[in-house]
């Protein structure tokens, strides 16, 4: 029989050899072609998949230019407090009167390194929940249902906090969330309906340092105001891995109602 060497070496792909160069225009054309192919072959499949995972759907929307609906969006913005600004301060809700939570105390944050501010076109009615398909190590705290859905997973290895994943359920118009330390933005991406923010905080110079550095990934969905925080002392790449292997959906648990002035709170590695 006649055979080709090129066929015999089909299993001999050189993983360590790269050929070809990245060409943005070529990549865009290929994406367009694949999109067209999917449009013909897989459209029902895509539509079915979208409600399954918010994150996946969000990335799809960016990647394939899915039609954007003209709806009011929740927003997240971030700023580094300037030296002239003085203490970052604001109200914190503490009192419950007739079933409603009232802001009653001004809190100040001398170590504030980054402030995340939210706008909400309307009050959130429900809060999100998530489930993870991959974790670098087993969580030590956090209760999941049979399908793995939860609102918080926490891992404490004893001498460090590898990760903490939690939903932030108090998003309201004007809310400020303060992150302490010397904070810098690692990545800021808009993924369809989602904002993905990666920030790292050098905590060594905090007044009460408990760890040297903490990494944070904020996943914020613009159409619902859902915020999921993935934080930890693990490297950002590992935290990002968690983010890409998780699914987020509405929990059915109503958001805590509050009233009064815009709130302030903190983002903390150990607490979420």
């Amino acid at each position: 029989m006649k055979t080709r060497i090129t066929d015999l070496v089909l299993d001999c792909c050189p993983a360590d050899i790269d050929i070809g160069e990245y060409d943005d225009e070529l990549a865009t054309r290929i994406i367009d072609r694949v999109q067209a192919g999917l449009g013909v072959k897989n459209q029902p499949h895509r539509i079915r998949k979208i409600p399954r995972a918010f994150l996946i759907a969000a990335v799809l929307a960016l990647a394939f230019g899915t039609v954007a609906f003209a709806i009011a969006e929740y927003t997240i913005s971030l700023r580094k407090p300037s030296v002239d600004e003085g203490l970052v301060s604001g109200f914190r809700y503490e009192e419950v009167v007739d079933g409603k939570v009232w802001n009653s105390r001004i809190l100040a944050f001398p170590d504030a390194g980054m402030v995340f501010t939210f706008t909400c076109p309307e009050e959130m009615t429900h809060t999100p929940e998530f489930r993870c398909f991959w974790l670098p190590q087993e969580a030590t705290e956090g209760i999941t249902d049979e399908q793995g859905w939860t609102k918080r997973l926490f891992c404490d290895s004893g001498d460090s906090i590898p990760y903490c994943i939690s939903t932030i359920d108090s998003i309201s118009d004007g809310l400020q969330l303060v992150l302490s330390g010397d904070v810098s933005v690692v990545k800021e991406e808009r993924l369809g309906e989602w904002e993905l923010l990666e920030v790292t905080s050098d905590c060594s110079k905090l007044i009460y340092p408990t760890y040297d550095r903490a990494n944070y990934i904020l996943l914020f969905q613009k159409t619902t105001g859902y915020l999921v925080l993935i934080s930890g002392e693990l490297d950002m790449d590992t935290l990002e891995h968690i983010a890409y292997e998780m699914e987020i959906r509405e929990s059915g648990i109503p958001k805590v109602e509050h009233t009064g002035d815009p709130l302030i709170g903190t983002i903390d590695l150990a607490r979420g």
């Binding site: 029989m1 050899i17 070529l26 290929i30 960016l62």
Partner: protein
């Protein structure tokens, strides 16, 4: 993004991975397709083959068993490109590619081909460097000898000589394992 992570997302059916996959590997995939097809087809057709390859990977994502996505993609691109060549009734680009192997006619030929590939894999692995890389660049990635020479800082004649040694090594491996073979032409 990390290749294994891309692979996991692909296997899970995360459609958003496709643009990332394409951005990461389109240059690589196009280069392989172009090496195989450029003598017979234009850029537009080559891009079509590359696009079909990514679509095929998506559609067969549940059957992907490899842990090396890049290798899987390369194999898909090669197959798609070869199919395109056949449709265009065009010749394969490499002339020194044919082996005549004595195999008794039997229904297990597919199994034999699998065994031959394992032997070829071992033979390629046994080559020292840079012979292994040259052999893989030429026979797997279809790079021209002059391009390999330029990339590796060697003379074209040196690359050809090393390819010849690689073919001899492959034949020795096959012969030692009971397959008589010789160079030939279609």
């Amino acid at each position: 993004m990390n290749e294994k992570r891309l692979l996991r997302r692909l296997q899970r059916g995360d459609e958003s991975v496709l643009p990332e996959l394409i951005r990461q590997y389109s240059g690589y995939a196009y280069a392989i397709a172009s090496n195989i097809l450029s003598h017979a087809m234009g850029e537009e057709d080559i891009e079509e083959v590359v696009s079909d390859s990514f679509l095929s990977i998506w559609e067969n994502r549940e059957n992907i068993e490899t842990e090396i996505l890049k290798a899987y993609l390369a194999a898909v691109v090669r197959n798609k490109a070869k199919t395109a060549l056949r449709k265009h009734h065009a010749e394969e680009p490499l002339e020194d590619d044919i082996l005549q192997i004595s195999i008794p006619n039997q229904p297990e030929q597919k199994i034999l081909l699998s065994e031959l590939r394992e032997i070829a894999h071992d033979a390629v692995d046994s080559l020292g460097e840079p012979d292994r890389e040259i052999f893989q660049r030429y026979y797997f990635l279809y790079q021209k000898t002059e391009d390999i020479a330029e990339t590796l800082g060697l003379k074209d004649a040196t690359v050809r000589a090393k390819l010849s040694r690689g073919r001899k090594r492959l034949k020795v491996y096959l012969t030692e394992r009971g397959f008589d073979c010789e160079d030939t032409h279609y």
